[in-house]
């Protein structure tokens, strides 16, 4: 009797103790974040170098995990003519920097400035927990800061 009451109380407290379905089976393929393209961009990052000539650069870090990314931008006539990155971090932060630099090359400053978290997520094509989202958007944050400096 006492045991049952306790269980009921725990169920009622679930609103406070968010207890997700941790007993569920392993991740489905759709939930897998270490997809082939992520690993590929991590192992063979595109645009990972310091530009020999750039208009501006900016370095940002994620204090939680120590990830660090520097972005180098070459700008001409309101467009990004060259973009590269340097730094270190997890597969998600490195892959997103690689994809994002690839994606934004040749784009106008204003369209890159309007990129959102959602855009990064769709570039990566994987579901991200809030904590890994921070890894994913570090390069975007750094690009945005660099763009602000240009103003």
């Amino acid at each position: 009797m006492a045991e049952k009451r306790n269980e009921e109380l725990i169920a009622e407290s679930a609103a406070v103790i968010n207890h997700p379905e941790i007993t569920a089976a392993a991740l489905t393929e759709q939930e897998e974040i270490y997809k082939e393209n992520i690993i590929d961009h991590y192992k063979y990052p595109r645009n990972k170098k310091e530009l020999s000539q750039y208009t501006c650069s900016r370095t940002e870090s994620n204090p939680l995990c120590g990830d660090k990314i520097s972005i180098y931008l070459a700008v001409d006539a309101g467009k990004i003519t060259e973009i590269s990155f340097q730094g270190h971090g997890c597969a998600i932060s490195q892959a997103s920097a690689s994809m994002l630099t690839e994606h934004s090359k040749g784009m106008s400053l204003s369209s890159v400035a309007s990129f959102t978290e959602k855009d990064v997520q769709s570039l990566l094509g994987i579901p991200l927990s809030p904590i890994r989202m921070k890894c994913a958007i570090l390069s975007l944050k750094t690009i945005h800061k660099a763009l602000e400096e240009l103003k």
Partner: protein, 417 residues
């Protein structure tokens, strides 16, 4: 099921019961796999005895302490103060030398604030390169405020403290030496007694960060010869929100309070106040009563199990883990490979794979490890590492857990192959 009111203090723990049985959470399934909990340096799991003691307090004894003369308040006060005595006995201290805080961080902040009031410009504070942020930042702040100089005892290539250099760094200007007894990153156990003697030779005080050592080693403040010892309840089977500052009575008596408010005062007028006696002088506001009782229950649990047995168990596991981990290609242990003077904390790097990716993939196997800088960014920069993956063990871990970790790490390498 319900205990009588005063049983809270006398609950004995049968030592024959397999340890795992005492920790309900270890039966939890994570991602369909049995939990393998290897993040004990961050926090430990709680035995049933601790959970029961706290539940019992809330169900039968809850009242504020040092206030009412009614029965319940008296019982709460007795349980709270009895907890203090149990903890004092555990580390070889006296009742009035045990101050309850929120945890190690608050204990160290208390010291920096209170000892800091007496520092003069040019005075030196000596720390070590392997300190946790909580034993660096409070000193940095007080050093800036008081124009004092911070110095660090460097590491040797073997991840130990360089004692020869320590002897030179600690000089007549040194007023405070504050070091960890066990590194939360490297697992290194430091020679506290030797450091205490070096510090005392120049009339400096020696502060010990015992957050990682008190849960795992028999710690006696008399044998250590330290002046202060700070530790946390939640890293030794107790609840969060409770920690301890031990200080030698003479030193505590000469120190100013840290926080001001209720409980820590003797008398208050509109213009002035005088302080309560030790240890309450340093405990402002309603304390964490149930947490103190929970911590005492954790201490009793560890005592019944036997601190020597914990050392023996963790030594065996350390030998096993070091051997097993060394078979993984591309894995580098950041810490001593020798069994002497190290605890069961294993920081490592895996070639080409970031610690967060390691942690995430291990999590799918139900294995909880920590990735990152472990609140020791200066140490990481000294070692030129962005971070490490860390597995830290406790009394309920077994060789099976180490095997699960090794199998998990091989899976991690497969994902990145």
């Amino acid at each position: 099921m319900a205990m009588k009111t005063n049983e809270i203090e006398n609950k004995s723990v049968p030592t024959i019961v397999p340890v795992e049985e005492d920790f309900p959470i270890l039966k939890t399934l994570i991602n369909g796999k049995k939990l393998v909990y290897l993040d004990n340096s961050a926090t430990t799991q709680k035995p049933k005895q601790v959970i029961a003691a706290m539940t019992h307090f809330y169900e039968h004894c809850n009242a504020n302490v040092h206030r009412g003369i009614y029965t319940l308040s008296r019982q709460a006060t007795e349980a709270y103060e009895k907890s203090r005595q149990i903890i004092a006995d555990f580390i070889g201290a006296s009742f009035d030398e045990i101050i309850f805080t929120k945890g190690t961080t608050e204990s160290l902040n208390l010291l920096a604030s209170s000892l800091g009031k007496k520092l003069q410009p040019g005075d030196e504070i000596v720390l070590s390169e392997m300190e946790h942020h909580s034993n660096i930042v409070p000193w940095q702040q007080i050093a800036k405020e008081k124009k004092c100089i911070l110095k660090y005892i460097p590491l040797t290539a073997e991840y130990t403290l360089d004692l020869e250099k320590a002897k030179k760094i600690i000089n007549s200007k040194t007023k405070i030496v504050s070091v960890t007894q066990m590194s939360n990153v490297l697992g290194t156990i430091n020679p506290i007694t030797e450091l205490a003697r070096i510090a005392h030779a120049v009339d400096a005080v020696l502060i010990v960060d015992g957050a990682q050592s008190v849960p795992h080693l028999p710690v006696n403040v008399q044998e250590l010869e330290c002046d202060f010892l700070a530790f946390s309840g939640h890293k030794m089977g107790g609840p969060t929100g409770i920690g301890v500052l031990y200080g030698k009575r003479k030193l505590l008596e000469n120190m100013e309070p840290f926080l001001y408010g209720g409980d820590m005062i003797r008398e208050v007028s509109f213009d002035n106040a005088s302080w309560n006696e030790l240890p309450w002088k340093f405990e402002a506001g309603t304390p964490s009563i149930a947490q103190a009782i929970g911590l005492a229950a954790a201490v009793q649990y560890l005592q019944n199990y036997g601190m020597d047995k914990i050392v023996e168990h963790e030594k065996k596991l350390t030998a096993y883990a070091l051997q097993k981990l060394s078979t993984i290609p591309g894995l580098k242990i950041i810490g001593s490979a020798h069994l002497d003077n190290r605890g069961a904390i294993f920081s490592f790097t895996l070639d080409g794979i970031h610690s967060h990716d390691v942690s995430e993939i291990l999590d799918r196997e139900g294995i909880a490890v920590r990735g990152g800088h472990h609140c020791a960014m200066p140490l990481m920069s000294r070692l030129q590492l962005p971070g490490t993956t860390r597995a830290s063990l406790y009394l309920y871990n077994t060789e099976k857990d180490v095997d699960a970790l090794v199998t998990g790490l091989k899976k991690v390498q497969k994902v990145f192959a």
